[in-house]
């Protein structure tokens, strides 16, 4: 690829890579790492080619991660939905790593946006309703899209509609069993209950974003969503999975009356149903809500293991401690409530 060694400055190696990739001399300017979650290292930079500068984002595999994901899935998710919903334009996918040592991809940069911290109260202020309208409209459009012609569908075998729940639960249960460092009676009880009380089959197969929530999109501070980000957990499945995850109290900014700090749950469902053309079965949604807590537990269990045994990435330490315990409480409350309501 190039003679530059890994000890050379990151920016120089990136310049060499892009110059070869685009067949033109590329100058990299304003290179800076930005906080972008623990699943990928995220860098912003300007690439100057032939006197024209373009703002770009590079996402590189970390040494340790919240989740073990394939960067090709994330890249193809952006490719699939570019032009359908607001997402950055994917430009370069490097699966081997080359001069940057670890696999990465590059996409266009969306400037001028904000991302809400989950620790923040009322992050959208007076624009909460407009953000909710955008958030659940976009999710409805993702659910409505036929996955078959989309590039991302080639990454996965399509589950049967009746098996979406089982495949999702099997996958995350395997993560918990692999990474658990201490017995967790709450999630064990939740997983048994989920298997005894399965939801109805999915109404349709959709691309599931996998981490669709407050904090994973850019907004302009005036009520408009500029870009949906962090598609690394995208897969095919029941579209209710994304809706339930987005409704999880972990993302409600400490306001139980509004989902994702935006609208009431009923308002959000009405918008989603209008845009997706689907209807929400409340019993199935209840199943996916408890599942969301189990999925969260799996992610935080891996975070804790990676933090202690891996690279001590502080985001993993935070997720594996604070978030894990908060989600345990959400899960315990939800489990008890469902049994009170008649779950076997």
């Amino acid at each position: 690829m190039t003679a530059l060694a890994a000890t050379e400055p990151f920016g120089q190696r990136l310049e060499a890579y892009l110059s070869k990739f685009w067949g033109e001399t590329v100058k990299v300017r304003e290179l800076a790492r930005i906080p972008g979650g623990a699943s990928r290292e995220t860098y912003r930079f300007d690439a100057e080619v032939g006197g024209v500068s373009r703002g770009l984002i590079l996402r590189r595999d970390p040494t340790g991660s919240l989740i073990d994901t394939d960067r090709q899935v994330e890249f193809l998710a952006y490719k699939s939905f570019h032009g359908i919903v607001p997402v950055p334009e994917p430009l370069v996918l490097e699966r081997q790593g080359g001069v940057l040592e670890r696999p990465f991809f590059i996409m266009s940069r969306v400037d001028g946006g904000k991302v809400a911290s989950v620790m923040m109260t009322e992050p959208y202020g007076a624009h909460a309703g407009a953000i909710g309208e955008g958030l659940f409209s976009i999710l409805g459009r993702i659910a409505r899209s036929d996955p078959q012609p989309l590039p991302i569908s080639g990454c996965f075998a399509a589950p049967a509609l009746a098996d979406c729940w089982r495949e999702a639960l099997d996958a995350w249960q395997a993560v918990i069993e692999r990474d658990e460092r201490h017995p967790q009676p709450i999630v064990r009880a939740a997983m048994r209950r989920l298997r005894r009380n399965p939801p109805k089959p999915a109404q349709k197969l959709s691309v599931v974003h996998g981490d669709y929530r407050s904090g994973n999109f850019l907004h302009d501070g005036q009520g408009r969503i500029l870009a949906v980000l962090d598609w690394e957990m995208a897969h095919l499945g029941d579209p209710l999975e994304d809706l339930a995850w987005c409704f999880d109290p972990l993302w409600n900014h400490f306001d139980a009356s509004r989902v994702a700090g935006t609208l009431s749950e009923d308002e959000a469902i009405a918008i989603w149903e209008r845009e997706s053309g689907l209807s929400v079965d409340r019993e199935a949604l209840a199943w996916w809500k408890l599942f969301s807590a189990v999925k969260g537990c799996a992610i935080w269990t891996t975070s804790a293991k990676e933090f202690v045994e891996g690279g001590h990435d502080l985001v993993l330490g935070f997720a594996g401690t604070y978030t894990a315990r908060r989600h345990d409480r959400i899960m315990a409350d939800r489990l008890a409530q469902l049994v009170e309501e008649g779950w076997s």
Binding site: F10, A32, P185, D313, R325
Partner: protein, 143 residues
């Protein structure tokens, strides 16, 4: 197990001691310092309450076994034999791991036996246990 206070501090030390890369300057370093502060806040909470939370949880699990009834005698006897030792966090965690494993067995047995009373008691206990373990951090208000 969630990372211990020692693990969290080790992470902070490793981060602060690592040589800074030029591309890390700016928003990334600002965010990282904020995370160091949050982790230190969590460590303070763990140091203040960690032992008490573990002693209370272990005692509550033993009490659940004691109330579970003769059907579960074998597990109850096993749970009663697990002590908290010298109350060091590591010792308490080791006891907690053994007690939690027995608790999982107890709940599975209760479900198989259709023991609704014990099932409800265990679900109630899970709520109390998770509430006791939760770390409450101050929310951030918009600027």
């Amino acid at each position: 197990m969630t990372p211990t206070a020692n693990d969290l501090l080790a992470g902070c030390i490793k981060t602060l001691a690592a040589p800074a890369l030029p591309e890390d300057a700016g928003p990334f370093t600002t965010a990282r310092m904020r995370t160091v502060a949050l982790l230190n806040r969590m460590v303070a909470l763990e140091c203040a309450q960690g032992a008490a939370v573990r002693v209370a949880e272990n005692a509550a699990i033993r009490a659940l076994f004691a109330q579970a009834g003769p059907r579960y005698m074998e597990l109850t006897q096993e749970a009663a034999a697990i002590g908290d030792g010298d109350y060091a966090i590591e010792t308490l965690d080791a006891a907690n791991a053994r007690l939690r494993s027995l608790l999982i067995n107890l709940h599975e047995k209760a479900e198989r036996a259709g023991d609704g009373d014990l099932d409800r008691k265990l679900l109630k206990f899970y709520r109390e246990m998770s509430e006791r373990r939760e770390l409450v951090l101050p929310a951030v208000k918009p600027a």
